[in-house]
């Protein structure tokens, strides 16, 4: 106890690191043997460490902050080093250029299409007008209410009459009949195209109306047949593939 008391003050000095000379040697020798004194030194060192926290430290001059900021401002600015350029940095440019080229191509195509549409519209309007006229012609020819007059020499009784208009290149045929005699049921008139070579070709089956009129327009015909004449026979209602004699009417082209 008395030994510890003797060292108690030296322990504090030792912990502060200011114990010197023979006293320090004597204390260190004692500490080697005395665990409780070692613990005490450790504890005192802890207290001293806490004491370090109790100091506020020097207060920097008020201008210090301003001076530091000014120094930072004066510091030359480092300009960013130019980035390494790899081929991939050109990818966006290439893409943009490709898009621009594509846009121009699309614009050219678009204006061309618009011109063509305008042309087609004109053409279509013209065709529509022509079609209208053609329809009027056909409807006049085929109208059931149309007045059909066959003019013959005066004082001659009206005769059955057929008029065939044939365009070989288009295989187009229009036939108008007037003053035809009525037929018994299941019978019909059949028009024949008589070619320059070969057998007569069926060119439509028709029945006259109450006034003896009938029209055949564009019957199905083989292409480009040269016609020598047209003839009419009486056939069954469904038509025949070869004419049944006798030939009632015949006419040759001029």
């Amino acid at each position: 106890m008395s030994v510890h008391e003797q060292f108690a003050e030296d322990l504090a000095l030792h912990a502060l690191g200011v114990l010197q000379g023979a006293e320090r040697i004597a204390l260190e020798k004692h500490l080697e043997e005395c665990a409780s004194c070692r613990r005490e030194v450790e504890q005192l060192r802890g207290d001293i460490a806490l004491m370090a926290l109790s100091t506020a430290g020097p207060t920097p001059p008020r201008r210090a902050r301003q001076r530091l900021l000014e120094a930072v401002a004066r510091e030359p600015r480092r300009t960013a080093a130019p980035a390494q350029r790899g081929w991939w940095t050109f990818v966006p440019w290439i893409a943009a250029a490709a898009m621009a080229v594509g846009l121009i191509a699309l614009w050219l195509q678009n204006s061309d299409l618009q011109r063509r549409i305008a042309g087609l519209q004109d053409q279509s309007a013209q065709q529509l007008a022509e079609l209208q006229r053609a329809r009027e012609v056909v409807s006049t020819l085929t109208a059931t209410e149309a007045m059909r007059v066959t003019l013959v020499a005066a004082k001659t009784p009206p005769q059955p009459q057929g008029k065939a208009i044939y365009v070989r290149d288009r295989s187009s045929l229009i036939f108008l009949a007037s003053n035809f005699q009525p037929l018994p049921p299941q019978k019909a008139y059949e028009l024949w195209l008589i070619p320059t070579n070969g057998a007569p070709i069926p060119a439509g089956v028709f029945k006259p109306d109450a006034h003896g009129s009938a029209t055949v327009i564009n019957p199905p015909l083989p292409k480009g047949v040269e016609a020598k004449a047209f003839a009419i026979t009486v056939e069954p209602e469904s038509g025949s593939s070869a004419p049944t004699m006798p030939i009632l009417m015949i006419g040759a082209g001029e």
Partner: protein, 50 residues
Amino acid sequence: MPAAQRQALEMAYFEGLSHSEISAKTGEPLGTIKTRIRAGLLALRKAFAA
């Protein structure tokens, strides 16, 4: 903490003076300085523990 204790402690810790140097500086006996330093440390411990 008494001013004398604080002064002794501060001189030892912040100025790194040995107890004999403190004694010479203040004119106090060596034993008194030692006692003051220890008493000061113990007082600090008490204060921190509180």
